[in-house]
């Protein structure tokens, strides 16, 4: 079967005449709207940094209300991981939004391992997905993996706290981490600038990989994105309260000295965050979660399994690029070959031993035969000898007997003569 990729040069420009696959994007659009979307956002930070307020501001809703009180209103002794699911609709598009909160984070006196529940949560969602994906009968299950983690940094103005660094270091390869400066209305623009610089420096020093908003292929947007990257980490302000400023109704925080407007780009980076997080990069956050973080989790998990449960980081490259099924096939084949070899070896040994034994038996038989033959010969010889002797004796006997007979006859004759002579009177 021949196959090859041919680039039709004339085709890279418009096709002559209408074909219609330029409509594919619309088809994709249509289907995606029908499906609906989902997104899981995690917020991490010490109590009182305005996490819930920010969420409400971002999604212009009261996620936590009287009926559904937010975690901050409840006293936590240990770090909890809590999720709230809401369904929001806008412009015909349906979004199932899951907000994962971590009350109690960093609030204890000893905060060692306070990131562990967070890691466990993220991993367990990945595991659920992995299990669902690995079923033989795959069923419909929503994607509950954490797509983005907003990490709230307290506006100290100095730098990152050890806890901040520790957390981000542990989470940056598991989830998209976006650090935010919380309650940024306590910092002046200059202080904010310095603070941001310091934070980014420390992030680079510790080699923490935060989520990089990638360039989207659009010239004007990419310029914008580059400008935005210079503003990282984003300093945000949130508010549940709508205030009237210059005749406009805005979300903001009312101070005696003025109103800090949430959506004013000069006051804080909230708009930037919202645009990036929701309007331009939401899909990318999901894709990075799926293609990078989840795949890392999966390959780590599966590599551990195929090594008989033991964690083995020294897998050969060859084995990693093969599916476990293929690997089993390979092992099976190897084993079959091994068995065949063993079988032929055993056969050989067996044959050889049998031959040996048979030979021995043969030899033994030959030996016995030989001995028997010899004895027989011996016996025959003796017989012959005996016969000879007998014959000889017979001969001798008959000779002697013949002789005796002659002698007897002589004697008889002699005695007869003597008698005669006697009678004749020769006796004086």
């Amino acid at each position: 079967m021949s196959s090859g990729v041919r680039s039709m040069v004339s085709m890279m420009t418009n096709l002559e005449g209408y074909v219609g696959f330029a409509n594919l994007p619309n088809q994709v659009y249509r289907k995606s709207v029908k499906r609906g979307f989902e997104f899981t956002l995690m917020v991490v930070g010490e109590s009182g940094l305005g996490k819930s307020t920010l969420i409400n501001s971002l999604f212009l809703t009261d996620l936590y209300s009287k009926d559904y009180p937010g975690p901050s209103l409840r006293i936590k002794k240990t770090v909890q991981v809590e999720q709230s699911k809401v369904l929001v609709k806008e412009g015909g598009v349906q979004l199932t939004l899951t907000i994962v909160d971590t009350p109690g984070f960093g609030d204890a006196v000893d905060n060692s391992n306070c990131w562990q529940p967070v890691i466990n949560y993220i991993d367990s969602k990945c595991e659920d997905f992995l299990n669902a994906e690995s079923r033989v009968n795959r069923r419909l299950m929503p994607d509950n993996r954490v797509h983005c983690c907003l990490y709230f940094i307290a506006p100290s103005g100095h730098g990152l706290k050890p806890l901040d660094i520790e957390f981000m270091k542990r989470l940056h390869d598991k989830v998209n981490v976006i650090p935010l400066i919380a309650k940024a209305d306590t910092l002046t623009p200059e202080e904010c600038q310095l603070f941001k610089k310091q934070i980014m420096k420390e992030i680079q020093e510790h080699k923490i990989q935060i989520y990089e908003f990638p360039d989207i292929e659009d010239d004007e947007d990419s310029k914008l994105i580059r400008k935005i990257k210079e503003r990282m980490p984003l300093a945000v302000v949130g508010s549940n309260v709508v205030i009237e400023v210059n005749g406009k109704k805005v979300r903001g925080r009312q101070y005696p000295w003025g109103v800090a407007e949430v959506e004013n780009g000069e006051h804080c980076d909230f708009t930037v965050l919202r645009n990036m997080l929701i309007r331009t990069h939401m899909q990318d956050l999901k894709d990075v979660t799926n293609n990078v973080h989840y795949e890392n989790y999966r390959s780590r998990k599966l590599a551990a399994v195929t090594c008989n449960g033991g964690v083995d980081t020294s897998k050969t490259k060859n084995q990693m690029t093969r599916s476990p099924l293929a690997q089993m096939e390979e092992e099976r084949r190897e084993h079959v070959m091994k068995m065949k070899k063993m079988e032929t070896e055993m056969e050989q040994v067996f044959e050889m031993k049998v031959k040996e034994k048979k030979q021995k038996l043969k030899d033994s038989e030959a030996e016995l035969e030989r001995r028997h033959e010899q004895m027989k010969k011996n016996l025959e010889a003796q017989y012959k000898e005996l016969e000879e002797k007998k014959r000889h004796h017979e001969e001798e006997k008959s000779n002697w007997e013949a002789q005796q007979r002659i002698l007897e006859q002589q004697k008889l004759d002699a005695s007869k003569t003597m008698e005669k002579n006697k009678k004749k009177g020769k006796i004086f």
């Binding site: 041919r6 088809q27 806008e90 349906q94 929503p142 292929e217 899909q283 551990a304 067996f350 002797k389």
Partner: protein, 432 residues
């Protein structure tokens, strides 16, 4: 691009179980999500794979050329192929800002053999091979699904010969074998050979034959309101009667694709003349994405399920704790290793058994040998004894004879002496 399939099971509507609906106090902006998704997919590029099944000479290549407004490579094939082969070619096309990696797979030699019983096999094998490749990639430990070049067949155009009567048995057999593996779109090829009234009857006959034989052809989806109406209308026009042509003829003041006959010109894009436009609409413009989706969520899943079950994997009871791939792999592997060890053990045992048997055999032989020689030995002993006896009797005789002889000799010598002395006396007396 399969990244949009990553959460493939999210193809169901996300009604958000357990989620409460909350109102929004303003414009948040997530209504751009579909656009974000679309932008990403456009940047990534699309891919589509068509399989054309049909006898040689039904105009498969021409139709592809006409559909995609291009001249794909390839010489027209001869009828003397020994078996059915599949030839695939990939092309990169672009229309406005949309890039499409199109793979066209042709069956070469289909229907040309005298014995066509195995014709469908190479097609099924080809389709399965593509599924297998995807499955293997999906199961790898380190995988790169989002950049994987998907070669699975998204649509199968089955070319029916324009006999005007009914489907051939080869058609029915082949389509039956393929309907659970690929989206089948049957089309009547070279339909300019059929008149309109014949065509209607032909279509009805084909449809009824497909139904009565339980062949599941692809139905254009009617669940999305935006396209439900057009799709359901089109479903009624199946199978599409098409004509393909890359030749252009001037009609009026336009150049159109057509086939020119002495009695008139068949215009490819004239809906009164043939269903080409309908096919193009349905296949490309309206349902291309759905075809891909169906391939992935239905045909591929079926293949995957069967393959895994064949290898012995199964889900634990769905009601209790969720199935864990790791546990299954582990269990599978242990079972597998245990199996192998058992086989090894069995083989060893068998050998031990054989050795024992052979040893016993040889021992028997040895015993027999010894017995034989024991018998011979005994015989020999007997002979020897007889010999001894004879010897003894001979010796006795010899001794007896010797005695006799000695006695006789003694007597003789005595007699002689006496006789001699008597003679001597006589002689002596004479002399006096």
């Amino acid at each position: 691009m399969p990244s949009f399939y990553c959460a493939w099971f999210v193809f169901n509507t996300c009604t958000g179980e357990g989620a409460r609906a909350v109102p929004l106090a303003g414009h948040v902006g997530f209504d751009s999500m579909p656009d974000q998704l679309v932008n990403k997919s456009v940047n990534h590029g699309f891919c589509f794979n068509i399989l054309c099944v049909g006898e040689t000479g039904l105009g498969k290549s021409t139709l592809m050329d006409t559909l995609f407004n291009t001249k794909f490579e390839g010489e027209p094939t001869q009828h003397n192929q020994p078996g059915v082969q599949l030839k695939s070619n990939t092309y990169e096309l672009q229309e406005s800002n949309v890039r499409l990696k199109l793979t066209v797979v042709n069956t070469v030699g289909f229907g040309d053999q005298i014995n066509k019983e195995d014709s469908y096999k190479s097609i099924v094998e080809f389709i399965d091979t593509q599924f297998e490749a995807y499955l293997q990639e999906e199961l790898k430990i380190k995988r790169t699904l989002h950049s994987y070049h998907d070669t699975r067949i998204h649509a199968c155009l089955y070319f029916i010969a324009p006999t005007g009567h009914s489907l051939k048995s080869l058609d029915l057999v082949t389509m039956k074998k393929l309907d659970s593996k690929v989206n089948i779109i049957p089309i009547i090829a070279k339909s300019d050979a059929i008149s309109k009234s014949e065509l209607t009857k032909f279509k009805i006959k084909i449809t009824s034959e497909l139904v009565s034989n339980g062949v599941q052809i692809y139905q254009f989806p009617t669940d999305d309101e935006t396209v439900a109406e057009i799709n359901s209308t089109m479903n009624g026009h199946l199978p599409f009667a098409v004509v393909g042509s890359t030749e252009e003829v001037k009609i009026g003041n336009k150049m159109v694709k057509a086939r020119q006959y002495p009695w008139g010109t068949v215009q490819v894009e004239n809906e009164n003349h043939c269903d080409f436009v309908k096919l193009r609409e349905m296949l490309i413009r309206v349902n291309m994405e759905d075809l891909r989706e169906q391939t992935h969520t239905r045909h591929y899943e079926l293949y995957r399920r069967c393959k895994l079950e064949e290898m012995g994997f199964k889900d634990t009871d769905p009601d209790c704790k969720p199935f864990s791939l790791q546990e299954t792999y582990e269990a599978k592997r242990n079972e597998f290793m245990g199996d192998l060890q058992k086989k090894e053990e069995e083989m060893r045992q068998m050998f031990v058994q054989r050795v024992k048997e052979k040893e016993a055999e040889l021992k028997e032989a040895e015993k027999e040998l010894h017995e034989k020689f024991d018998r011979l030995k005994k015989l020999h002993q007997d002979e020897k004894k007889k010999l001894e006896d004879k010897k003894k009797s001979l010796d006795d005789e010899l001794n007896g004879f010797k005695q006799k002889k000695t006695a006789a000799e003694l007597l003789q010598s005595q007699a002689q002496q006496a006789g001699g002395s008597t003679t001597l006396k006589r002689d002596k007396e004479r002399k006096k």
